[in-house]
Structure formats: C-alpha cells, structure tokens
C-alpha cells in the first residue's frame, strides 16, 4: 500500500508539472509573434509594447515561468484579462459556482441512473429490459451534447413549454442543462456497469456463492456487485474532468454563465491570460481526479490495499 501510494504521488507530481508547463506555454506556442497575433495587424507600436510588457514577454522565458507560477501559487493571481480589464481570478470565481452546479447535478444524474440501469440490463440480459437500456444508451451516446441540448429545449421548452430554455434563474433552469450533460454519461456508465456485471457474474466465485446456497439477491448484490463496482467507483472520479469538458458545450447551448462559456469567449477574443488560467485549472482538476481515483481504488480493492500491486 505504501509503495503504491508513493508511486502514485510521484506520478501526480510529474503530471501537475506537465499541466503547468503546458498551460504556461499556450501563449508561447502560437506560431509567429503572439503579441502581433492577439492585437491584429492594425495595432500601434505603443499598444504593441504595452501588451508585450503586460504579458511579461519582454523578460527571459524562465523568469516568465517563475513569475507566472509564483503569482498563481502565492496569490492566486492569473494576471489580468485582456478584454475585461479585471483580474482573471475574479472572472473565474464569478462563474465557477454555475459550472459546479451544472456538473454536480449531471454527475449525480449519471450515477443515480447509470448504475441501476446497468445492473438491471446485466441481470435481465437479453430480455426486453436489456434491449431497452442498451438501445437508449446507443442513441444517447450518438448524440453530441449540443444537439441533445437543442432537442431537449425543443421538446420541453418550445413544444411542451414546461421548462425555461436558457439562462440562469431558479432550480428549473438547471434541469435541461444538467440532463444534457448527464444523459450521455448515464449511457456510458450503464454500458460499463452492465459489462462489468456480466463479466463478474461469469466468475467462479459467483458459482461458489450459488453452491453455498445463497439466495439470488445476496449472490448478485453482495458477491457480484462488490466486485463489479470497483471499476465504477474509480470511474466516478475519472469522469469529473470530462464533465467540465462537456460543460463547455452545454453552457454555450443554454447560455449558462459558467467557466466553459468563459473559455470559449476567451479563445474567440484571444484573451490568453484567461485561457491559460482555465486550462491550468481544468488540467489540475484532471490530475487531482486521477490521483483520487488511484487512492480510492487502492482503498476499495484489497489486492492493492494489502500488497501494493496492481494497476
């Protein structure tokens, strides 16, 4: 267990470092002169020098990196937005709540529906239940977020007129965006859960459990489920960053004022400090989610917990 955790901490540090370097170099990887690119052709020399200084591009590259990182770590300062003229951190903190609200709800929907549906499909393999769940999953997985969002808007907002189409407001405004973000994940989790469950139900120890005389509910929900859930629990963590990815699109569809929307606007407006900050944050979140998944895995799988071996 100790060995395993040391290994994971080591890889955690490397990954954080890589994410930091990548977000920092976003500005520097722009082909040609980044300042010129941001300002466009018609900027004056004065504007040019001012921006170059503001972005710190007049300093040697390692100094830039240290300044950038130090500002983030010590003061939570990601620099100033080039468009809004306010600190990036302020822009982000205004919006982060909305994104968390959206992704959190979607996350709950995904697991609350996905796990039971997957189990049901596995238990009732090759029956109407299975076909219905898997058919629904196939359709949901084939719909891009933005179109699923549009369809939900059309049905519930335009045709039935029972839910608001876009923007923020009360709890009813959260329903459509979080369904949009959550439903495709329901499909993924249901499929994963079903596959794991079928895999486990085929194992010898399930036969042993039956041979012992256990009632079917205990066989399925104690002996099989406990094993089948291990990868799912890991997935619960791994999936978090992907929900932030989906949020980018969903927020655009529903005019939801979150971080994703901010990212798109910033990219379109070439507001690099904001883009860098967002990529850095989501990247860090990704690494943390992975690390958490590894730890939880170690905790729930006795093979890893005791011997420190395993994936």
């Amino acid at each position: 267990m100790k060995k395993y955790i040391i290994r994971k901490i080591f890889s955690f540090i490397i990954c954080i470092l890589a994410v930091t370097l990548f977000s920092f170099s976003l500005l520097h990887l722009i082909p040609g002169d980044p300042v010129r690119y941001i300002l466009g052709e018609f900027a004056t020399e004065e504007q040019y020098q001012k921006l170059k200084h503001q972005l710190g591009l007049d300093k040697p590259i390692h100094v830039q990196f240290i300044d950038w990182l130090a500002n983030i770590i010590l003061r939570g300062d990601f620099g100033k937005s080039l468009v809004k003229n306010v600190p990036v951190s302020e822009l982000i903190s205004e919006r982060i709540v909305y994104t968390l609200q959206l992704t959190g709800t979607a996350w709950l929907i995904a697991f609350a529906l996905g796990i039971p549906l997957g189990i049901a499909a596995a238990i009732y393999k090759q029956t109407a239940v299975d076909y219905a769940v898997m058919g629904l999953a196939a359709f949901l997985m084939s719909m891009p977020y933005f179109w699923l969002g549009l369809v939900l808007m059309l049905v519930f907002g335009v045709m039935l007129e029972i839910l608001p189409i876009s923007g923020i407001g009360d709890w009813r405004n959260v329903i459509l965006p979080s369904l949009t973000l959550g439903l495709p994940q329901v499909a993924v989790i249901a499929r994963l859960m079903r596959a794991n469950m079928l895999d486990v139900l085929d194992k010898d120890y399930v036969m042993t459990a039956k041979a012992k005389g256990l009632p079917n509910t205990l066989v399925v929900f104690k002996h099989a489920l406990r094993n089948a859930l291990i990868p799912i629990v890991t997935y619960m963590f791994l999936q978090i960053p992907w929900l932030f990815g989906g949020a980018v699109v969903t927020e655009t569809v529903f005019a939801w004022p979150g971080m994703g929307r901010l990212l798109i606007i910033s990219i379109l407006q070439r507001d690099y400090p904001t883009v860098q900050a967002l990529v850095f944050l989501i990247g860090t979140l990704t690494v943390i989610a992975n690390f958490a998944a590894d730890l939880v895995y170690a905790f729930i799988d006795p093979r890893v917990r005791v011997t420190g071996e395993g994936a």
Partner: protein
C-alpha cells in the same frame, strides 16, 4: 453409516445452445452414489464430467437444457423450487472447484466467506460463529487459523486456498461433497496433502464424495467405484479394483494402456487413434465407435445397454455379451 443410495441420477441429458448449434453434452447418464462411498467420475477434457457435477446443484449456465432425474435422498433436485434448492446447496451437498483462487471471492476475507454459511443456513453453533469458523480452519489443518480468518484469498497459497474452500463447504456438514478436479491446479506434494485431508474428513464427517477428475492416479488412491465417461456417455462403471485390473470397455482399456508406466525402452504406449468427436453432431449409437478398433455395425446404430460383468461392474458396449 447408513446403507442405501444417497444420490441417484437417472437418464440425464444436457444440451447447450451455442452459436454453432445445439451441443449434446450429456447423453443419457445414470449413476448412483451410496452413503459414505467415494465415486469417481473420470474422463478426458470435454467428456462432460464437470457438467454432470454442476447439474446436480443446478449450477449450469442459462443456455443449458437439462432433462432426466437427479434424486437426492429421494427428492428430484431438478424439480425443486429455488427456495428448496437453496436448502440443499451448501447444506446437504457441498462443492469444491479446481481453481480455489477464482472460486473464492477476492474482495472478502476468508473468515467472512466461511461464516456466511452459518448465517444463511442458520446452522446450530456451540459458541460464536468466529469460534466455529476457526474450528473449521483447524479441521482442514490451516496453520495459525486465528490469523488466517482475516486473510484475503490472494494472501494464501494454492493449497491453503483449497483448504479454506473445503472448510467453507464443511460448515453445513453435508452428506455429499462434490470435488471437481480438486487438486489439478496443485503441485504433487500439495496434492497428496489435500487428497489425504479429503479422505480423513470423509471419515470424520461421514460424507459421500463425488470426485471429478481426469487423473487415474487420483482415482486409484481415492475412489471406491469409478464411472468412466466418454463424450457424454458412461463407458464403464464399477468398483475401482475391477476397472483397473479387469477393464472391459475398449476405451477404458486404451486409456489405461496409454498411461506412461514403465520405460520407453521396454514398451510403447497404446494409441487411441482419432480425436474426441464434435458434440454438436455426435456419432450415433455408441459415441466411441469411430475410434474403436473393434466396432461393429450395431455400434453405429444403437446406444449400448449396460452389460453386467460382475457384481456392480457394468460395461456399455455391444461387443460384450455376458452377465
């Protein structure tokens, strides 16, 4: 020990639905196991010996179709409702498998998996369940049972896992233990330990044993009677002495002469030509006839009826006219 029959299998047929067609895996098998005896079911890969074992506890997968009767203490197991079946599983009939690592649940400690037996079957206990489990672990000669109670299966060696598995199946004090290739995954020195343990426990617990194996050596050491299976049919059944010293079925004879006894300079091993038939389209009549050096016309048409060789020794072969 009581006299009489504990388990009686009558005319068992098992078909498996597969993508390629229906595999007729068991073709009319009849057997009986008496109180206190060890019956070995021996045969090569794919002969159906494990299928027979699993059909007794109705552990076959859903694509299996089972016909016939399996009478345990007079009641037909195949007709029982789930709730009644569960009272037999583990309590009346225990079962151990070839690979104890995959047969034990990896995420629960051994003690938990054994104590489960006491809870579900509401077994009578003298002290606490923990004490009872440790007692069982002692009975299967697991050293340091207090500590091993808390071990996960992967922390035990192959031999210890099989002991734990046996302990689990002894909890209900079953009258029949089905041992499906119990030592095939183990080294010979460990195999000898486990086989001795099983025989000792049979006496202590007064069990009958159905031993499924491909190894004539294990049979010779353990069994009172043997049934030789070939391609889903019984070829020969009888007391171990009769079968080994006076085999009558061409397949049994071939099998025993194929054993590498002696030395290459002294003798050549007997070849059984050909290979095991496809069970989706099995040969009609006696399924051994395409490989049998003495096959006659009748073998291709009619399924052989048992011929009595001596008391309790029956051969399913048209070539024998006797009794």
């Amino acid at each position: 020990m009581r006299n009489g029959t504990l388990l009686k299998i009558e005319d068992l047929y098992v078909n498996f639905k597969t993508d390629e067609g229906i595999a007729k895996v068991i073709d009319g098998v009849s057997l009986d196991i008496k109180y206190g005896e060890v019956l070995a079911l021996m045969g090569e890969t794919g002969c159906g010996k494990s299928t027979v074992a699993k059909s007794i506890l109705r552990l076959l997968p859903k694509n299996a179709e089972v016909r016939g009767k399996i009478l345990f203490k007079g009641t037909n197991i195949l007709d029982l409702p789930e709730s009644e079946l569960r009272k037999i599983r583990g309590k009346e009939i225990g079962m151990i498998f070839q690979d104890p690592l995959t047969a034990l649940n990896p995420v629960f400690i051994v003690g938990n998996q054994i104590s489960e037996m006491f809870k579900i079957h509401k077994l009578r206990i003298k002290r606490t369940i923990l004490d009872e489990v440790i007692e069982l672990l002692k009975n299967v000669r697991i050293p340091d049972p207090q500590r091993r109670y808390y071990s996960y299966p992967f922390e035990l060696s192959g031999g210890m896992r099989q002991r734990a598995m046996i302990a689990m199946m002894l909890a209900g004090r079953p009258s029949l233990l089905i041992a499906d290739e119990p030592t095939s995954a183990l080294d010979v020195t460990i195999q000898a330990q486990i086989l001795k343990l099983i025989m000792d426990l049979r006496n202590d617990y007064n069990m009958s044993i159905l031993l499924i194996t491909h190894d004539p050596g294990v049979v010779a050491e353990m069994a009172d009677r043997i049934a030789i299976m070939y391609a889903g049919q019984i070829a020969e059944i009888g007391p171990v002495r009769d079968i080994f010293l006076n085999p009558q079925h061409p397949y049994t004879k071939g099998l025993l002469r194929a054993l590498p006894l002696g030395h290459k300079e002294e003798r050549e091993l007997e070849n059984i030509p050909g290979r095991v038939p496809n069970l989706i389209e099995p040969p009609p009549g006696c399924r051994f006839h395409p490989r049998c050096p003495h096959a006659i016309e009748k073998c291709k048409k009619e399924k052989p009826k048992p011929v009595v060789v001596s008391n309790e020794h029956f051969v399913f072969c048209h070539l024998l006219r006797g009794g």
